[in-house]
Symmetry: D2
Subunit: 400 residues, 4 copies
């Protein structure tokens, strides 16, 4: 599956694709050395965003015809995972960028979609969002020559650094999805994200105070029912999450292996010469590796189901959508648990000295613990069961 | 990957392959209705073996050029899994058949291999083995016009019904792998398999009392080092096991879903009208489904690694072999745990009345509990850890 | 706490109490040797009931003044646990005997209570019940010189062998608790218990066809609200269950230890001379032992809470009742999980040969798996959480 | 058990004992409000130590005849647990104080013991240690009018704030246990504890540079075998640890309950009006509560075994010691796992907003994760198994 996921099927592809895994790996390599220091500092990730931008990762999904990378959704997921191996916050930035760009393009008319996609490539736009459904809805009201937007959202992922913000707002009796520039007058970023994990993820609050919205910034036809493909936005969101959880866990487990090989001392009662030969370290490392391999395998299967579903375009049926969604939610449940377990248990492999602050190894758990609360994982188990037993998935706005 | 796994790469394939999953499904459908009764009766599975034979599943792996099915290893694994969904004992028969046939062909000279393969197709042979390494070694001694074989083995899988038995025996300072007919004079089958699970698996004892062995029944050159591809026999064995565990768990979970939908009553404190809507049943079914999906995904990845490794033939390196082996052992660990958990916890979904003897639902756990003791799963965790931390896998004869 | 639990506080105690743990141990010792054979035969446990009877265990709870054993509820729980170490079915018989006797005495008027208690000692009565709330209610209707009883119940524990049956029946708009002889005309025992576990527990169906009920067989005042102490009947039932689960798990783990020490062979890759020195067997045995010690400690704490609650008599408040109930339900959750885990995982310590049918070691899991479905354990977790978060426990008839 | 644990059995007890749980609770109440701020600041806990001192908790174990509190070991364990509910670091200070005081008294001659105990009460001494066995041994060499001490230790718990430091040092071919003032010339405190958890626990490094040691600062007879009671020091250490783990977990779970009741919002798909009614929150809170109740029950049983063992004094046999040690190690395994699980999973009950830095709720996990690496918990599982299977516990200096 190598066509660009945002590109018409028959579009020409004039040049060979980059190897996105390698591109992402180069950025990851640059992010690793100061990951612990960056977590401690907790500064706004402007430099790190530039690394993503300069590597071309922001344009990965855009068609070659638009000047973009022509990558597939699978490529985007892999890139997210690879960045996550180095820094979970930066992977979140990339994940939500892909989400909000895709959401905009999918909701747009063909003309809007092309303009947004070309503009995004040309301007190297970074995308954010502001639609947290647990807050009161933002409101869009018709005004002179367009609309006015008012609202307040906690958890506006990426928005503080974003060139473009995709968001949902109430418009009359229905909802519109709109795109506004991040620096539009009246948009105020709280810059107040202050959780103990994902500290660089720029997920703070946002306020829209009577913000001007151009007619063309309202995507598609807000008075019509959403087009079928948009039923895949929530699964795409969840699948992006899965991949940065997996990347984080892979990064943590790899770091633990390195530490065990180079630094851990054998336990005195173990009777072995090196920690890496301790029967319990072998067993427990193996157990974590098994679970992580399983998460990866499930995520890859889920990715295939998602690609298959998106390939159906607006012909997709609710049943087909749910087949993909159930695979993704199963991967979400598994990745959430595995990442929590891996990031907590690696210390039992490494030993007491690995808790020294300068290593910053607790950041793995703090990052995963923080983001895995995005939506309750138990409700994803329920929907996996619901799909198996009842053939359905309960619709929950923006969550399932 | 559709070429026959036992066939030269360039061989002609004159006719379209059967869809082996469908073939296996037909047999599975025939096995399901009396699975509980069959478990209770515990008779020798002669009728069931005939179903496998008549469906062509015994010749699945044999090249089309030999009259065989031309299936791949993946096809054999899938067939094993599908049969396991209906009856774990019968799936074990098929798994060990593929194992012992493949072991013979891989150890044989090209001439022996072709003769055995053609003979197997023509005679619709069912293969068994007798090499349990935890018993004293059987001994082969040169005699007039060939050799004489003596020994005794517990756990001689398939042998009591087998047309051909593949086994390892000590010959001088080394070992020979030989093939003898199951009814050769001096071969005595104990017919004494009496575990609480896998009751139809014909895994009883065998005795070789001064059995005649023809020179050509000694495979390959017993004085030479084993050819590299044979390093994949143990991983193949483990991978077959993985697939019938998965099939068994799938069969159990599907049965539980059917029961919950049709028979379980809602718990009085649940506040719902049907058991299939109980929030805890949805959650816990979901959890089991997630784990089983993970086992399947891991087994499929392991299967791909195995196909890649076998495609290397005798060019395979120890490192390449271990990449496949580690993937397979990871799948083994996961499938063992998942199958145990699924077969025990389904009752919590179904409720108390599902313990009625006439359903025989405890057979799922009894089958899995029995065979998952074949080799200690914790030692597989250890080797997964060993491969990750030390880049190696501890060689343990016939187990890793 | 040594006063008889069914005795007025100030009653004289003329003779020293038996050591009930030792008494139970003697019966357990007699039950152990043929436990596997008994499970296979599945006959009605008449001989085993006589062992309980002759040892005086049926009268353990009855006051010395009535000729009984003068034991405490703690003694009854310990006896149940000790018998469970030998045979889970027989422990269930004893547990339900204590339950149905206590239920009758607690519901009775003082005069009825004394007559029932004295009668029970003199007649060496074995008590059963027939109140499964998931079936339609039995109905009691006024008739000439008493009442007539009609109904049908699945799961009438102990009833087929019982001298006296305690049961709940609808009477007008309310409920009456009554006691009838097991052989009263019109009482038909299905003798149809046929689960895969607790095979000797005599939990089959019962039918009441226009059965005569004497006025005095109706306990207490059926038109009045139940006396407060009766709110402890359900916790008592659950606590008895906890103790026979624990006993069963203890019996299984002890048997596994014996087998590991005497019969298991060291795994070839373990590098040790005896299975009992394998690092993984030590670890995993230790893990099971930790969980079982925890179940025991929790059950003992729950027992203390129950004794404290019963000591309050009819002065007990709903809050005090729930303190005891929550402790008991917590112990139930833990014991259920531990017993399931122990009875399934002991095989990983013992190895493949421990699955031989003649050992019958699968009976431990079959027994626990069957009875732990009595009521869904997840609903007990919920109530433990409910008590912690909301200070209450949801009333569910006969279950919480 | 109310006699002072450090007091001769027959000693007079002239005044009623304080209720140590209440005393500890008062200190805990003072510690709670700024626990999160204190963790962030990470300053030396001088003020907090004064709270312990002024409340009399440092003298809890000393006999009334010495002016001490006359508390039992059980009282000390309870106090440790209660302080842990408020602040795990401060509980660690108290735990190690009891450890190093008790170690000194038990190793001392009767005269030394009385002088140390009286001095400790009069001077309100805070005790620390410096014996980490994983570093090279400190060395004691005879000098003019006493000895000279040289050495370096990582992890010198409490030492930086201690009035007295108990430590083990090599003396000739054997070992001596000595007590030196924390401010003796030549003693340098690294003040370099910098783990991500237990941030106020003052567990930094210490250096002894040719430190003068008075003859009477060498405890007991260093040329003789240690007296039998000292075999209980390691179990006592482990049991103190168990109790501050439990306290920490209790504090975390109570905080979660408060948050769920007051702050969490119901999940939109839950269909309930308040988070505290969500079926999954009830279930999962219940599950955590069950495990924590089990840890508490096991710790209390272990405490009883420890009291019984210490009551044997120097008459204790190795078998009796191991009965207590196995109970304590089982409690250690359980408490370690439970505390890790509780401190990580409480967030799933509270929801995403509970990750806000100002709550500081991640400190619970960071504290437990850090200290549970003190010694590998899997080796404690092994010894529990070892005791059950082989009747013995592997001696590991200062760890088992």
């Amino acid at each position: 599956m190598t066509r660009s996921s945002l590109q018409p099927v028959a579009a020409a592809r004039p040049s060979p694709q980059p190897d996105w895994a390698s591109v992402a790996q180069s950025v990851a390599d640059a992010l690793v050395p100061d990951a612990a220091a960056r977590d401690r500092a907790g500064a706004s990730p402007r430099r790190e965003l530039e690394l993503l931008r300069e590597a071309g990762l922001l344009a990965l999904l855009n068609p070659v015809a638009h000047g973009g990378g022509g990558g597939s959704f699978t490529d985007a997921l892999v890139a997210t995972r690879v960045i996550g191996q180095a820094d979970a916050s930066i992977a979140q930035l990339l994940a939500y960028h892909y989400l909000h760009l895709t959401n905009a393009v999918w909701r747009a008319t063909p003309e809007q979609a092309e303009r947004l996609s070309r503009g995004s490539v040309a301007g190297k736009w970074f995308w954010g969002g502001a639609s947290n459904p647990r807050d009161p809805e933002s409101r869009l009201t018709p005004g002179a020559a367009g609309y006015r937007l008012s609202g307040h959202k906690t958890f506006a992922s990426n928005a503080a650094l974003a060139d473009k913000i995709t968001l949902r707002a109430q418009l009359g009796d229905g909802f519109a999805v709109i795109v506004v520039p991040g620096d539009r007058e009246g948009v105020t970023h709280g810059n107040d994200w202050d959780a103990f994990g994902q500290r660089l993820s720029e997920s703070g609050t946002i306020t829209f105070a009577d913000v001007r919205v151009e007619p063309d910034e309202v995507l598609g036809d807000p008075t019509a029912a959403p087009v079928p493909r948009t039923s895949l936005i929530v699964p795409f969101h969840q699948l992006l999450i899965v991949n940065f959880y997996i990347g984080t866990a892979q990064g943590a487990l790899a770091e633990a292996a390195r530490y065990v090989r180079t630094t851990s001392r054998p336990w005195q009662a173990s009777g072995v010469e090196a920690a890496r030969l301790d029967p319990y370290i072998l067993e427990h490392y193996g157990n974590l590796d098994v679970e992580l391999r399983a998460s990866v395998a499930l995520a890859d299967v889920a990715g295939q189901r998602f690609e298959a579903a998106t390939a159906r375009g607006d012909a997709i049926t609710p049943e087909e959508r749910n087949v993909a969604a159930a695979a993704i939610y199963a991967a979400k449940v598994h990745a959430s648990r595995t990442a929590l377990e891996v990031t907590s248990k690696i210390f039992e492999l490494m030993g007491a000295r690995a808790t020294a602050s300068h290593y910053g190894y607790d950041r793995f758990w703090r990052n995963i613990r923080t983001h895995t609360l995005h939506d309750p994982v138990v409700y994803k188990s329920r929907e996996v069961g619901n799909f198996a037993l009842n053939g359905t998935i309960t619709p929950t706005p923006l969550y399932s």
